[in-house]
């Protein structure tokens, strides 16, 4: 649970560089979820090919190529990549998950936080027009902060409201772009 990096770096000299370049991922032996990614690539390729069959064959002297070849080429390449990727995974290939200042790869993925964040994100998308950006943005900020572990609920709401109001007026006055006012139309 604690941050492992500083400790390991203290002890052995060469682990520093190893962790910086090799980046041991969460599961070193066979990461089967990668097959899902291969399937996704194949699906994308299929979508491109399916769509390409639908496109009318419009070529002219101005454009002897037409709109079809590029999606077809990309679709075929995607299918090919999906297969090669799967072969790579079967042979034990693992992609190194991205590290970062605040990323602790030793802990398992926190799906609950992720789901909560997605929920608040969608809530904003649904509420932004009926309720207006000031309200939906406040909820988005406070909700996301809550999902990420903030337990000062009032503070989260106050920060969110301040940010939402500031951006609302900055856009309206500074840029002449209006974010939706929603039910607060006339009050703001």
């Amino acid at each position: 649970m604690s941050d492992r990096t500083p400790d390991t770096h203290d002890t052995v000299g060469d682990t520093v560089v190893d962790s910086a370049t090799d980046r041991v991922p969460e599961k070193a032996s066979g990461d089967r979820a990668q097959y899902g990614l291969c399937a996704g690539l194949a699906l994308l390729g299929t979508l491109l090919l399916l769509d390409a069959t639908r496109i009318g064959h419009a070529t002219s002297s101005n454009d002897p190529v037409g709109p079809r070849p590029v999606p077809v080429i990309l679709g075929v390449l995607l299918l090919l990549t999906a297969v090669l990727y799967a072969v790579d995974v079967a042979r034990g290939g693992v992609g190194a998950a991205e590290e970062g200042e605040d990323v602790d790869l030793t802990a398992p993925s926190d799906w609950k936080t992720l789901a909560l964040l997605a929920l608040f994100f969608l809530l904003n998308a649904v509420l932004i027009e009926p309720l207006g950006w000031v309200i939906s943005g406040t909820v988005l900020f406070a909700g996301s902060a809550y999902a990420l572990g903030n337990r000062h609920h009032v503070r989260g709401l106050v920060f969110g409201l301040a940010l939402a109001l500031a951006t609302f007026y900055a856009f309206a006055i500074g840029l002449g772009v209006n974010l939706p006012a929603g039910i607060l139309q006339g009050i703001l």
């Binding site: 649970m1 520093v16 090669l84 200042e101 990323v103 936080t113 969608l122 939706p180």
Partner: protein
Amino acid sequence: MDNLQNLLDGFGHVLTPMNLLIALLGVTIGTAVGVLPGIGPAMTVALLLPVTYGLEPTQALILFAGIFYGGMYGGSTTSILLNTPGESASVVTAIEGNKMAKAGRAAQALATSAIGSFIAGTIGTLLLVLVMPQVVSFAVSLGAPEYFAIMLVAFVGASAVLGSSRIRGFAALLIGLAIGVIGIDRVTGQQRMTYGVAQLADGIDVVVVAVGIFAVGEALWVAAHLRRKAAEVIPVGRPWMGREDWKRSWKPWLRGTAYGFPFGALPAGGAEIPTFLSYMTERKLAKRPEEFGHGAIEGVAGPEAANNASAAGTLVPMLALGLPTNATAAIMLAALQGYGLEPGPLLMEKQPVLVWTLIASLFIGNTMLLVLNLPLAPAWAKLLQIPRPYLYAGILFFASMGAYAVNAQPFDLFLLLALGLLGFGLRRFGLPVLPLIIGVILGPLAELQGRRSLQLSGGELGGLVGGPVAWVCYAIIAVVLLWPLGRLAQRAWSARSGGPDDGPDAGGGAGGGVGGAGADRSASPTSTEVTP
């Protein structure tokens, strides 16, 4: 001497209070986001894109360039004080920099990195002034087939040369190219990949893609792996260097610059390779190599200079050819397109004021950065204390706002989440982000150039091969693509003849046979040779 005159004119334009203010704003934001974990210059420029459509193009670019340079300075502060580099370019700095900080020499590490960055940035920008017009005068003679070939080099370079696994690089590139296909075909007006969704007819806005992949994707990725205990920040006073430190730093600065600029200017350069090369060189040349691994100042000075010089080098292909070689440059190009300016060699002819004012602003921004970073380092370090829930909630907040503001339609917010989840997937599976974003931005342009070349040849495929420049490009692509085959053959050969060629490289490839070459190049020199 024409360049010099142009540059002086550029200084004349940039020295207005408004432009100076914008440059100052840019470098300040840049340093802040460089220091802040989870936010990088690419994400920031993406977030600011919709906001800056109200500014003049020149001013927007001054702002972005300030953020770009500033991010480099800020990033090194974080990697020295925290030892968890946020960007691949500062991985090397963290090796010795953090050791110095732990040994109580944080002030010297920050000083050599800031001064080295300043020197490298200034020399790099000077080289940009000298080199870019030459590249432009060469590039204006190039036709559509040549451009098509150069873009293919950029695609292959970003996916196969950078990063650790080729197959993963190509997967990311193809996803990006597929996203670029979505929308109405520019030539015939037919809808592609829209599957009947009316909002997709105009294609997915680059802002939405960039914000989704960089901002939302990053925030979600960090959220799923947030350190419960924040990493420890090493306290630091005002940066300074003694006589001895200066003596040990100045040569690495210059050597780092010499590595960084050319690599940055290559279509597949980037900052990782030159920073590693600089580190290896300094270790070899050091008078006291035993200090490496325990905080050698040369190991900070060289890579940091290489890092900043490569940033300046990146601007050569970006301004002269319209080719992005890193994520921030890619988004700056998208910004140019947003203003209706066509990136490429004609940019300098059509918009000389913009280009030269931008370059002049780089000199000024670089100087501002030195002033901002040397005395104020302790203040910047305080940013690392920001509560993480607020930081990442803020990223999601601004991402939603920016993406909505582009087209004022909630549909984009759903799209943003989908792209954010895609960005999460990229990070989870170790797919590089750069090929994807280059694919999205350059893909449609490459298709246009390719079709234009075939139009010139009346549909004959030979029209794509064009002149010598295209031949060279295709030769480069062939070498890069066939590299692993050559290695396989070599290995098979030596296995048959019983030669002991299974040296340190054999086990290095994280991606097995297909993804071997890239991983070997970046990983093996360090993991085998750094051991003291």
